[in-house]
Symmetry: C2
Subunit: 248 residues, 2 copies
């Protein structure tokens, strides 16, 4: 089994290079064709899909490790990245390596720090490394079965997005610079996992006074060209600081 | 130096008992005499105050370790506990043990998982263990200098309380069962670190319809006895689920 050899070969190097016990898993979101997507990989020797991840070097801050792992997988470090939860249950990952030697690096107990990232879809170049056979965006509405506890990690990341929708720049980081109001509404609906009334959504969003209506409109398509908007970053950031719904 | 001996004696036991690299720090809040308080300890051999913490046993989930550490320090496990952030910068803790042997357990690099806890002041019995000389509540407005990066950990915990004020049961867990409206307002002011207008606060809080006005009032004092309230837990939880400010 070729993958087993690769892991065994790298095990000693990993013991020397990384701090023990700790791993990082990344939930990388993007928004494409009106659906919220998440980056998934297929590791060699695993039947199920998983989230991209890695370890922390002995001479590296944990946040810097997350940036490095994200860059290795997406080709860019210019991505909004936020730690959201650390997953520390017994046997959350060890079982994936049952048939291996107990000294194998990957078979140790790992507590994993979860980071979510918000990527602009077109900015990302997906990278398949030596440990994986595939790296793909998947719609969050049609996720495959995940390995280990990666479904739990994903669910928690989505819950965090939802809780932070009003005080973190989530729309700004997931949408292209110019977007239509229906696209913005679809994004909110995807994160909140519920349908929103069009009129109410428009009224609320416009009342926050965080958007700039552009002179241009979206070309192409059979219908009337829809208006384009962009975020007024100064006003958006000020509103986020207070919480979009107004503060106490 | 007596403390050095204690650490050295326990070092081997710690290496055997706990998973490496990981520690837990607890920011335990309570509300007493109209001020928000945090539990601080003074470790033997340290000049500065710190937050209570500990390590994760090899056969223990991380969340269970946090509950155990909290119980060891406060005598109760019936306390609202929430993980909020993991602190992983290089040299965040190692420098406190510079004059010790490099193999000493405590001198290793530790990445620390932060938990905040919300305690009802009168429920807590403070415990001074063999590693500490003092364990005290301190008003968050008058904090002493902290050891290591414990000030950073505290600041992040308070920021989290503020962000979660509208969707976690923070008021319920910090106040006694019966409280007055001025006490509730003081709690919100302490968490938000700003003065609130009395009339606006009353109107907003009453509009959420999460309080029950009790038949009794607070006895004693020279002034008119103030009305007592308690949370209507069913309504409060439903409101938190949607976010107190109303949902999208």
């Amino acid at each position: 089994m070729e993958f087993k050899k690769i892991l065994e070969q790298h095990s000693e190097e990993s013991w020397n290079k990384y701090i023990p016990t700790l791993s990082i898993d990344c939930v990388i979101f993007s928004f494409h064709e009106t659906t919220l997507q998440v980056l998934t990989i297929k590791m060699k020797g695993q039947e199920r899909w998983g989230l991209p991840g890695g370890y922390v070097r002995k001479d590296e801050n944990v946040d810097d490790a997350a940036i490095r792992i994200l860059k290795d997988r997406t080709g860019t470090e210019n991505i909004y990245l936020q730690q959201f939860y650390t997953f520390g249950n017994l046997n959350r990952s060890e079982s994936a390596f049952e048939e291996y030697d107990d000294k194998l690096w990957n078979k140790q107990r790992f507590v994993s720090i979860g980071y979510y990232a918000l990527a602009e879809y077109t900015n990302v170049k997906l990278v398949i490394d030596q440990y994986s056979t595939a790296c793909e965006w998947k719609s969050i509405a049609e996720l495959p079965e995940f390995m280990m506890d990666h479904r739990t990690i994903f669910d928690r990341a989505l819950l965090t997005l939802r809780e932070q929708l009003n005080n973190h720049p989530i729309g700004y980081n997931l949408l292209p610079e110019k977007f239509t109001m229906p696209e913005l509404q679809k994004l909110y609906e995807a994160i909140l996992e519920k349908k929103l009334n069009r009129g109410n959504f428009y009224r609320k969003i416009l009342r926050y006074d965080i958007l700039t209506k552009l002179e241009e409109s979206r070309k192409g398509g059979a219908h009337k060209a829809p208006d384009l908007y962009s975020f007024d970053l100064e006003k958006y950031n000020a509103a986020l600081k207070e919480g979009l719904k107004g503060s106490w």
